[in-house]
């Protein structure tokens, strides 16, 4: 019997497009641009395509919001090595700040959101700062507890509207502004994060993930670098929180809810960790799925968790890495 083995070889066009030859012909340029254009044009066209279905247009907003959160999780987990199980902390702080800014200070929506995003990120970073030297399980436990702590403190002290929340937050004036704000911000964050992780700064962060002692021995302040990374991730999360508050015109304890921590993690695992785009694709699959399953009530969370576990166990690379492999390489059987 003849023994065969599967071999993976890079496609010729992939090798050609790696250097200056990328601009040698339209085929090469298209090979590089196609996937990116597909995402950008597809996202921008989505609200127009779904024009007749106002309900599903709301779903796009949620989808993009969760995509931003999964970018934040993916960046911290796979580029810095910090397992942040509490993205809800960022959304909660950003959301409440935005509500306070627009109601107490009377700021317009387009001033309140950036200000809340920035302030929220600073506050979250300061909160997480003392726990930054922690590693692995320890950091995960702390971040899991922080949003719960905030939830309980607001409940117990009955501040910031207590369990009723703050209502009457001004919303967006036009529907298309509401949609395109989040889509453009998502694209902006996605491409700038991709750029960031390929800069020197990203290299240092990956160094911290692989061997923080070596980075420290090179005279780089590890905690400071981690703090900047957390700030970036918190920026993304706080934006989602403040956007959500203006979308629903309400800020409440549900901003600290488990959904904001669990769905991004599930999306990243499904989409493929460490690719950044993976989390976006994962949330584009999970969020509409969860809307379609709305009839099942809280069973939805159980369904994501089961999908998540199945992916962790059977397909831990995720969809994006699988697709990338198919796009860049072909497989053939060769004799051993």
């Amino acid at each position: 019997m003849e023994l065969l083995r599967k071999e993976r070889v890079d496609r010729g066009i992939k090798v050609r497009t790696e250097g200056i030859y990328a601009i040698s012909g339209w085929q090469e340029m298209l090979y590089l641009l196609m996937p990116r254009l597909l995402l950008i044009v597809g996202l921008l066209a989505l609200p127009l395509i779904l024009g007749p279905f106002p309900y599903w247009k709301r779903v796009i907003n949620m989808m993009c919001a969760y995509a931003i959160l999964s970018l934040s999780f993916d960046f911290l987990a796979n580029y810095v090595g910090l397992a942040n199980l509490g993205s809800a902390l960022f959304t909660g702080i950003g959301g409440y700040l935005s509500a306070i800014f627009s109601l107490k200070l009377g700021l317009p929506v387009f001033l309140a959101i950036p200000l809340a995003t920035l302030m929220g990120a600073v506050l979250s970073t300061l909160l997480i700062l003392p726990t930054l030297p922690l590693r692995g399980v320890y950091f995960a436990i702390v971040t899991l507890m922080l949003p719960l702590l905030f939830c309980r403190i607001i409940e117990a002290l009955n501040i910031l509207g207590g369990t009723n929340g703050i209502s009457g937050v001004p919303g967006f004036e036009k529907a298309f502004v509401e949609e395109y704000t989040v889509i453009l911000v998502l694209l902006g964050f996605l491409f700038s994060l991709r750029r960031l992780v390929n800069e020197d700064f990203g290299l240092v962060l990956r160094g911290i993930k692989d061997n923080d002692q070596a980075v420290r021995a090179s005279g780089i302040n590890v905690t400071w670098m981690k703090a900047i990374a957390v700030f970036v991730a918190a920026l993304l999360g706080s934006f989602v929180g403040s956007y959500m508050v203006h979308l629903y015109m309400w800020a409440g304890l549900s901003l600290f809810a488990l959904d904001f921590s669990v769905i991004p993690i599930a999306s990243v695992v499904i989409g493929g960790g460490g690719t950044l785009v993976g989390g976006v694709i994962g949330s584009f699959i999970l969020v509409p799925l969860s809307e379609a399953l709305r009839a099942f009530g809280t069973l939805r969370i159980a369904i994501y968790c089961i999908i998540l576990t199945v992916f962790i166990v059977f397909k831990s690379e995720g969809i994006m890495i699988y697709l990338q492999r198919k796009y860049h390489q072909f497989e053939r059987w060769v004799k051993v």
């Binding site: 692995g136 923080d212 969370i301």
Partner: protein, 288 residues
């Protein structure tokens, strides 16, 4: 006096619900975030056995304990065995399983305040001027007995000794022919059975609700983190500290703050001394 006695009982309850978590972490090095879910699931199964199949309570306890041990073993055998050693995946996978179990239970009808387990011996007794029901005294007995049993088990049986060996040095024990997967499987099922035992004795004090799953996980984590992950002496000491702290805050401020105390204890301990009071972790493993 009232505070003192109730704080003592609260401490024993805390140590009972966190022993299972501590055992699994110290042997298999797996933070079993499905702990709270196993707790509620065992309680619910106990309720089903008593009310639907009308089994007598002692028999129902035994069946429910076997059930919880089986869940623990299945979780390890099917899922956790594949992600062992990857801290992030272990946490995410076990947490996901826990949430899945809890939400399926909620969907399956575990809602509202109608689910109550019966107490083993009804009635109460007056000690030093404070009336205490027998169930609370029973909890004292059960958790004391469990601690004694665990001590004897880990010091005088072959399986228990191999557990300790794995906990001390996994590679060296592999060389001596101890199957680490088998030990981890057993530890997870024993840990879950202890968690189930806690559920069957502590849950009769209140209702079986899904939210108890989340709070149990937090209390167990708080006790284990304060005491030092993977240390049994730490669990006992920390549950006394937290038990007294919680009862005092409940008495002095309000019962809303019970959870805040646990959460602050976790965060505070991790910031100041991540290895906890009795932890033997190396400094480099936990922080930079």
């Amino acid at each position: 006096m009232y505070v003192l006695i109730y704080a003592l009982i609260n401490s024993f309850i805390l140590s009972l619900i966190s022993l299972g978590f501590a055992l699994v972490y110290s042997i298999a090095r797996i933070p079993n975030f499905a702990h709270g879910a196993i707790y509620v699931a065992t309680g619910y199964v106990g309720w089903l056995l008593i009310n639907r199949l009308s089994l007598p309570f002692p028999l129902a306890i035994i069946v429910a304990l076997i059930f919880s041990a089986l869940i623990g073993a299945l979780i390890y055998r099917i899922v956790l065995i594949k992600v062992r050693g990857m801290a992030l995946s272990e946490i995410i996978a076990s947490y996901a399983i826990g949430i899945a179990i809890l939400e399926i239970l909620r969907w399956g009808g575990l809602r509202g305040m109608t689910f109550m387990l019966p107490v083993l011996i009804p009635g109460s007794v007056e000690i030093l001027g404070v009336s205490i029901d027998y169930q609370r005294l029973l909890i004292l007995g059960v958790s004391g007995g469990l601690l004694l049993f665990l001590y004897l088990f880990t010091h005088h049986t072959k399986t228990g000794l191999s557990f300790r060996a794995i906990a001390q040095d996994e590679r060296a024990s592999l060389m001596l022919g101890i199957d680490s997967d088998r030990a981890a499987l057993l530890s997870l099922s024993i840990g879950s059975a202890i968690c189930g035992l806690a559920a069957l004795f502590v849950l009769p004090l209140g209702n079986i609700v899904v939210e108890a799953g989340y709070s149990t996980l937090i209390f167990a984590l708080a006790v284990c983190v304060v005491g030092g992950l993977g240390s049994t002496a730490g669990v006992v000491a920390a549950s006394f500290i937290l038990g007294f702290a919680q009862t005092l805050t409940e008495k002095l401020i309000s019962s809303h703050f019970q959870m805040v105390v646990a959460l602050l204890a976790i965060i505070g301990t991790l910031i100041l001394k991540p290895s906890g009071l009795f932890g033997k972790q190396k400094e480099l493993e936990e922080r930079v």
